[in-house]
Symmetry: C2
Subunit: 196 residues, 2 copies
C-alpha cells in the first residue's frame, strides 16, 4: 500500500446512521440510590425507541478495564477518569452512554463534563436520602460500613458531594416517573426523536 | 424508587438494531506498515454499507484513556490490555471495532483474543516488510530509532512477533485489494450483509 488515505469517518457521519444525538447520561448518587435500576429501565425505553445505547456500570468496568484499580482515593479518581474517557469514545462512536457510578467527588464529575462538548454531558443526580439508601442496603454494604468493615464508604465514612446544578434532579419520584422525566428531557432537547 | 428492576439490554438485543455481528478487527504490524490507512479505508466502506463501526488508534487512545502510559514494556502491555478491554465493551455494544496498533507481542494479542468469543476476534496481519516501512517512514521515527534517539523501537531495537495464524494476512496487496480481502471475509462469514 503506497497511497496515504486521509478519509476518516467522523462522529457527524455516524450520527447520520444512528439518527440520535450522542451524549453521556451521568448518573450520580449514593450506593443504593437506584442509579443502576434507573439507568437500566431508561435503557430499555431507549432501546424500544430504536436508540443505540451502552450502559457502563460496575459490572462491566470493575471486572474488566478497571480490574487493576482498588478503592483508594487515587484509584477512585483514576476509575472515574477512565470511565469518562471511555464514555467520550462511545459518544464519538455515536452512542448514548449511560454511566452509573457513585462518583462522589465534584471535581471528578467536572473532569468528565469537560471531556466532551457542553451539551454532550447530562448529569443526573439520583437524590435518594442516605437514610433510605441505608434502609434498602441491597448489597449489605452499609451494614459493613457501619461496623467499620469497609473503610471510606461514601455517605458513612467518606463524603458525597451533591451536584450543584445537575441537568436532571431525581427526587421523590417513582421509577416510572424518573424514567419519564429523563426521556422528556431527551426528547425536548432533541437528543432523540420518536422512531417507533 | 422501591421496585428493583432486572431488565438488561444485551448484546443480542443490540444486534437486532445494528443488524451486524459485532467483532474486533485487530490490525497488527510494524510502524508504517499501513494499519491505520487500511483501517480507515475499510471503515469508509463499512460506513457506506450502513455498518456501525469505531476505530481505535493512537489518535484517540494515547491522548485520552492511555495518556498516563509511557512506552516501557510494562506500560505497553497495559496499553494493549486497556485497548482490548475497551474493544470488548464496543463489541458488547454491538459495534464492529477496528483497532490499529503495532501490538508487537503475541501474548498481548492473545490476551485480547481471549477476552471475547472465538469468532469475535479477527486478527489482521499487515505484513509489510521492515525495509518498506523504513523507506516510507511517514513520521520519521525509523530515522530517529536508527540514531538511537528512540529506545526499544519495534523492528529496530525491540522485536515484532508476527502472528502465527492470523485470520487475515495482508501481503503484497494494494490498498484496494486489502480492503476487498477483509470485506469479503466479513461478508462470507456473515459479520455483515449488503445493506445498501
Amino acid at each position: 500500500m503506497v497511497v496515504w488515505h486521509n478519509t476518516k469517518i467522523t462522529k457527524e457521519d455516524r450520527i447520520k446512521l444512528t439518527k440520535q444525538k450522542p451524549c453521556i447520561l451521568w448518573f450520580t448518587g449514593l450506593s443504593g440510590s437506584g442509579k443502576s435500576t434507573l439507568a437500566n429501565a431508561l435503557e430499555e425505553k431507549l432501546y424500544k425507541n430504536g436508540n443505540l445505547t451502552y450502559l457502563l456500570d460496575g459490572d462491566n468496568i470493575r471486572h474488566g478495564l478497571n480490574s487493576d484499580l482498588g478503592f483508594s482515593s487515587k484509584d477512585r479518581q483514576e476509575n472515574i477518569r477512565r470511565i469518562g474517557e471511555v464514555s467520550k469514545l462511545f459518544v464519538d462512536a455515536g452512542l448514548i452512554v449511560l454511566s452509573a457510578f457513585i462518583s462522589p467527588f465534584r471535581k471528578d464529575r467536572e473532569f468528565v463534563r469537560n471531556l466532551v462538548s457542553k451539551d454532550e454531558f447530562i448529569e443526573i443526580f439520583v437524590d435518594t436520602p442516605l437514610s433510605e439508601c441505608e434502609k434498602r442496603d441491597p448489597k449489605g454494604l452499609y451494614k459493613k460500613a457501619r461496623k467499620g468493615e469497609i473503610k471510606e464508604f461514601t455517605g458513612i465514612s467518606s463524603p458525597y458531594e451533591p451536584p450543584l446544578a445537575p441537568e436532571i434532579h431525581i427526587k421523590n419520584l417513582s421509577l416510572e416517573e424518573s424514567v419519564e422525566k429523563i426521556l422528556n428531557y431527551l426528547f425536548t432537547k432533541k437528543y432523540i426523536t420518536r422512531k417507533r
